[in-house]
């Protein structure tokens, strides 16, 4: 069917875009969104390389556990964003500078 290089290049693109979103966007929710994109890129690689070993499912299990940890990260991260928004009235990480000098 399709060559695996396509999946690898797609996952590299998704990871780079996630990295750019994390650096560039000035909003905590957008940063979480970029982290989700990076986790998905790694999952794509795990599933793609698992097709080389049809007898074993280890890559798919690894992807499954990555999804579980991503859920925890999103839930706790959004709860923290909500609390920070109630306390500081902003969701831009740059403006929360209480501990800065």
């Amino acid at each position: 069917m399709f060559p695996i290089e396509h999946v690898l290049v797609l996952s590299a693109l998704l990871f780079s875009v996630g990295l750019m979103i994390v650096i560039m966007k000035r909003n905590a929710i957008m940063i979480l969104l970029g982290v989700e994109l990076m986790l998905n890129a790694s999952n794509l690689n795990l599933v793609a390389f698992n097709t080389f070993h049809p007898g074993s499912l280890d890559g798919q299990f690894f992807a499954l556990f990555v999804i579980i940890v991503a859920v925890c990260e999103a839930a706790v991260g959004l709860a923290i964003v909500l609390r920070a928004y109630q306390h500081y009235n902003t969701s831009a990480p740059d403006q929360i500078t209480e501990l800065k000098d």
Partner: protein
């Protein structure tokens, strides 16, 4: 070019375009919807890579769970003025070179290797049955630890978000 390859290239192109769209749009709500498109396309690629269970989990957990959480977060953190939540791009002069350099590095690394010619189907039939048996036999410890981690994280998230306090009042439920 058969039909599966056509579908695969279509999903790949849509996922890449939607991901780049997240980078470009300034409205956070549109970004969440574009992320939904990317996640659904990735689920389609999982189906074509013979990982049906991961694809269903992806749709249930990401498209059904995390996206709803993110949209709730967007609605709760935008001010009540009715304007959409816009985000400004700062440090783009750092982000574009860093991301571009990382992309070139990864692609060089990936394409330097030579892989087997194409993706092949798994040898024996029922993948989901094999996954279930393997999950209960070989991966029982990570499975239980993941369950405890989910419980702890969700209770922590619920408690962190539920102590709503107005300014100048005591903490109450």
């Amino acid at each position: 070019m058969n039909i599966a390859s056509t579908i695969f290239y279509f999903l790949e192109a849509v996922a890449a375009l939607a991901a780049i769209g997240i980078l470009i749009v300034r409205n956070v709500f549109y970004a969440a919807l574009l992320l939904l498109i990317t996640l659904l396309c990735i689920a389609g690629i999982y189906v074509l890579s013979f990982a049906e269970f991961i694809a269903v989990t992806q749709i249930l957990v990401y498209a059904g769970g995390i996206l709803v959480l993110i949209i709730f977060g967007i609605m709760l953190t935008s001010r009540i003025s009715g304007k959409p939540l816009m985000v400004s791009n700062k440090y783009w002069f750092v982000a574009i070179p860093a991301g571009g350099f990382f992309f070139v590095l990864l692609v060089n690394l990936f394409l330097k290797q030579s892989y087997a010619s194409s993706v092949s189907a798994p040898a024996s039939g029922n993948t989901i049955q094999r996954m279930g048996v393997s999950l209960m036999r070989d991966f029982i410890l990570p499975f239980e630890v993941a369950g405890i981690l989910l419980l702890v994280a969700l209770i922590g998230a619920a408690i962190t978000a539920s102590f709503m306090k107005k300014r100048g009042e005591d903490v109450s439920h």
